[in-house]
């Protein structure tokens, strides 16, 4: 039923959306009327090209090709002087096409396009031929071969440029509302920055309270300050920010549209109480008879069927866990405000936003399925996150670290690092030093609390890369925490519940059997369970490690392949709090470029359809990962509607189209075929 509603709702959203954006469909191509006049500029790139093939011969050959009216060899085409020569050539010979034979479009195409544009040649009528990376540099000892190949490549490039059509980059308006998905520390930071800059933010969090993982930590490295003490105020700041609209206990179920014009469907899960009336007094959870393991406390300790997530929760509201409610209505009686609503239904809300920050965060690696290091087999093997809660004064044990088997406070505690990380059987990646520091911090905290305790940290390498980490490491050593370099090979349990860790101390080069009262697994970071769904909703590719892929790992670390969607925090890989917070701010910064200008550019290489040729077979509709195509109209007047703003220009649809009605601008079938058909020539030149 709900499923059906959602589907119906999607229809409501999508249908008008496409028709509203004719301005996008109407983007026109100026049809080529004039005879092509092509200039070919051959770059020597110092000796990088000139040293390994005959640039002058290539230029001379180019001049014999039809429509080529000017050629020039430049020392450095990309230098100001080289660009000046291009622009002079354009003016002098009235060029309407420019071919540069030099390096790679991946780095230099923008430069030359801009150069052409300045001189009045449409940037899309510039063609790049790569005779450096694909010729001089890889055939350094074959002068003839390299020269001959360069001529072929130039001929192919000229053939293609002959057919290049001028394109206009258009733009779409950008809605001034912002969506932030995930209210962990990264998401909250993004929301705060957006809000402070005056943009209206919808902050969607699937848990009943914002705060994310950090809210569950006891203290945070390297400074060891109290996690909730520094996060709490930030949570309140979010709540107080006029521009931030917190949507807790809600999930994004669908995103349609495109940069600047996203149509978002948010599911508000029923709390079964009226949040406007609920005061968060907690009376309900006092009287609730149902006791359940507390997720917030990593299932140590209990919560009720109706409960307040944790003391600092924002919003400070209760939530009823209907699955476990026995319907005794005790809470209803107890609630003086009369906020309880057993008949609440899920609500689907439709939002319109211009940009989106994705900060869906991470999970800790779960050692249970493979019983790594005896976890799940032996009571006294626990994870870092569990240890965090035991250590926490507000935790289930009031800050007393006890071992699960007999609630005795352990004397000897061991920590194993890289559990589920740097491990071919689990995840090959390193969790970015986060778990190293966790163990060091936790050992240190317990040692400070109870000096009589002994601590072992079993590690492969200590990755204390960020500021203050190394100092924290040294502090732990000074406190007497023992570091054993080696990956434990065997974990056994004694009848008294003690754990024996068998490990090779690779520094000493000897096998050690260490008996522990408690073993803590430094579990690594893994992608959030919901990340694959989020990826498909937002059409974001994921890397082999399962985290979302940023547009460029170095130069665009918070951008994604979907325009207008940015990624912050651990959704894009393991990282610590500082890093995640910085990312949150970064997304706000990147996104504001679009918001403040109020419009977003649409690149030129999108799919176009020739409706005379199209037979509406609909193959493209399924092939497109971005939902660019839809069949509209009925019977005789059915046609394919193309929303170019959604198009990322991969051209897969063009390949699938049997009629050739679909074309990708700038990579049209005949443009590519022109290259194919110029690889070979008859006889001599």
């Amino acid at each position: 039923m709900a499923e059906h509603d959602l589907y119906h709702l999607k229809k409501l959203i999508t249908t008008p959306l496409y028709e509203n954006y004719n301005l996008v469909n109407e983007r026109r191509t100026i049809m080529e009327s004039e005879e092509p006049r092509i200039g070919v500029f051959v770059c020597e790139c110092g000796v990088n090209i000139g040293g390994y093939l005959d640039t002058q011969a290539v230029a001379d050959y180019a001049l014999t090709l039809p429509n080529v009216v000017h050629t020039k060899v430049n020392k450095f085409t990309c230098a100001d002087s080289g660009q000046a020569e291009i622009q002079a050539g354009i003016k002098e010979h009235n060029l309407n096409r420019v071919v540069v034979a030099s390096c790679t479009p991946r780095t230099h195409e923008p430069t030359f396009r801009a150069c052409c544009k300045e001189a009045g040649v449409n940037p899309y009528q510039f063609e790049f031929v790569n005779i450096r990376d694909q010729c001089s540099w890889i055939h350094m000892w074959d002068w003839e071969g390299a020269t001959a190949k360069a001529k072929d490549l130039v001929r192919m490039g000229v053939a293609r440029s002959r057919l290049l059509e001028p394109l206009e980059e258009s733009s779409v308006p950008v809605d001034q509302n912002v969506l932030v998905i995930g209210a962990g520390v990264a998401g909250m930071q993004a929301a705060i920055d957006f809000g402070d800059m005056g943009y209206n933010v919808y902050l969607v969090e699937k848990e009943p309270s914002i705060g994310g993982r950090m809210a569950r930590f006891d203290k945070v490295f390297p400074t060891n300050d109290c996690s909730i003490c520094i996060l709490g105020p930030k949570m309140v700041e979010v709540a107080r920010n006029k521009n931030i609209n917190i949507m807790s206990y809600s999930e994004v179920t669908d995103v349609d549209g495109f940069v600047g014009n996203f149509e978002v469907t948010v599911l508000h899960k029923p709390r079964y109480l009226d949040t406007d009336i609920c005061t968060g007094c907690g009376a309900c959870q006092e009287v609730c008879p149902v006791e359940l393991p507390s997720e917030f406390n990593e299932n140590f300790g209990i919560r009720k069927a109706i409960y307040i997530p944790f003391p600092q929760a924002v919003p400070m509201r209760a939530v009823l866990d209907k699955d476990n409610c026995i319907g005794c209505k005790a809470c209803e009686k107890a609630c003086e405000a009369g906020a309880i609503r057993y008949d609440q239904e899920p609500i689907y809300e439709k939002l319109k936003v211009g940009v989106i920050t994705v900060a869906v965060g991470m999970d800790a690696f779960d050692p249970l399925p493979h019983n790594n290091y005896g976890y799940g087999l032996y009571d006294n093997v626990i994870t870092t996150m569990e240890f965090e809660r035991l250590l926490n004064a507000a935790g289930p044990t009031g800050g007393h670290v006890v071992r699960p088997s007999d609630a005795v406070e352990p004397i000897t505690v061991g920590f194993i690092n890289c559990v589920g990380s740097r491990d071919v059987n689990e995840n090959i990646y390193c969790s970015g030093g986060v778990c190293c520091m966790f163990s060091i911090k936790n050992a240190q905290l317990l040692k400070e609390k109870r000096p009589e305790t002994n601590h072992y940290i079993f590690y492969m390498d200590i990755r204390s890369t960020m500021r203050g980490f190394e100092e924290a490491y040294n502090r732990a050593r000074d406190l007497g925490v023992k570091f054993i370099r080696g990956k434990p090979v065997e974990i056994t349990e004694k009848e008294n519940g003690n754990i024996i860790v068998r490990v090779e101390d690779t520094l000493k080069g000897e096998i050690a059997n260490v008996e522990l009262d408690l073993l803590v697994l430094g579990t690594g970071l893994v992608p959030n369970e919901g990340i694959s769904e989020m990826g498909s909703i937002l059409k974001l590719p994921r890397s082999a490690d399962g985290f979302l892929t940023e547009l460029h790992p170095k130069l665009a670390p918070v951008d994604t392949t979907t325009d207008g969607v940015f990624v912050a925090g651990c959704a894009a890989g393991p990282r610590d709090i500082a890093y995640a917070t910085a990312h949150g701010s970064a997304t706000a910064g990147r996104a504001t470029r679009l918001l403040s200008v109020g419009s977003a550019p649409i690149m030129g290489i999108t799919a176009r359809i020739d409706e005379d040729k199209c037979v509406v077979c609909g193959v493209c509709v399924d092939k497109c990962p971005y939902g660019v195509f839809e069949i509209v109209g009925t019977n005789g007047d059915r046609r394919i509607n193309v929303v170019e703003a959604l198009c990322k220009g991969c051209g897969t649809c063009v390949t699938a189209c049997p009629t050739g009605a679909l074309e990708q601008s700038h990579f049209k079938n005949d443009q590519v075929l022109a290259q194919v058909r110029n690889v070979f020539q008859y006889g001599g030149e």
Binding site: T104, R106, R542, C650, V679, F680
Partner: protein
């Protein structure tokens, strides 16, 4: 450059011409990395850049053979890394068809190859090109090559 030519490949030996399609994001980047790393390779390959391996129309490849290509390579991002979600998955479907096609048509199986090359795999790119070239040299000129084209 006299000394360069001195060590140049012997012109007597038959050099095949190979058409290679690269996706913009990975394999074309791989070609660039090969250049950056100066990974030497025979001058047999003519690269045509498309945005995604999913854009590689069987028509292009068949046309390349009809034009006289002795071999056709096509390449994209590794499975799972596609810049466009799943373009390379679609490419594998096309490839399956093309392989069956080429086999039934009676062209040597060696003449068509799909290989995933990431932008960082410069050396691998060079190796793929070199090995494929050797492979083609073994099978010789394409029987589909029209008379008189070079």
């Amino acid at each position: 450059m006299a000394e360069a030519t001195a060590t140049g490949t012997t012109s007597e030996e038959w050099q095949p011409k190979i058409v290679m399609f690269c996706c913009n994001w990975c394999s074309y980047g791989g070609a660039d990395s090969a250049g950056m790393g100066r990974f030497q390779q025979p001058p047999t390959v003519r690269v045509i850049r498309v945005m995604c391996s999913g854009r590689m129309d069987p028509m292009f490849i068949l046309n390349a053979f009809l034009e006289g290509a002795d071999g056709v390579l096509f390449s994209g991002c590794h499975i799972g890394d596609c810049h466009y979600v799943n373009g390379n998955y679609k490419a594998t479907i096309k490839y399956k068809f093309l392989k069956a096609m080429v086999n039934e048509l009676g062209l040597e199986d060696e003449r068509l190859k799909l290989d995933w090359i990431s932008a960082s795999e410069g050396e691998r790119y060079a190796n793929v090109v070199t090995e494929f070239t050797e492979q083609i040299k073994k099978v010789g000129p394409s029987p589909l090559k029209p008379e008189g084209v070079v």
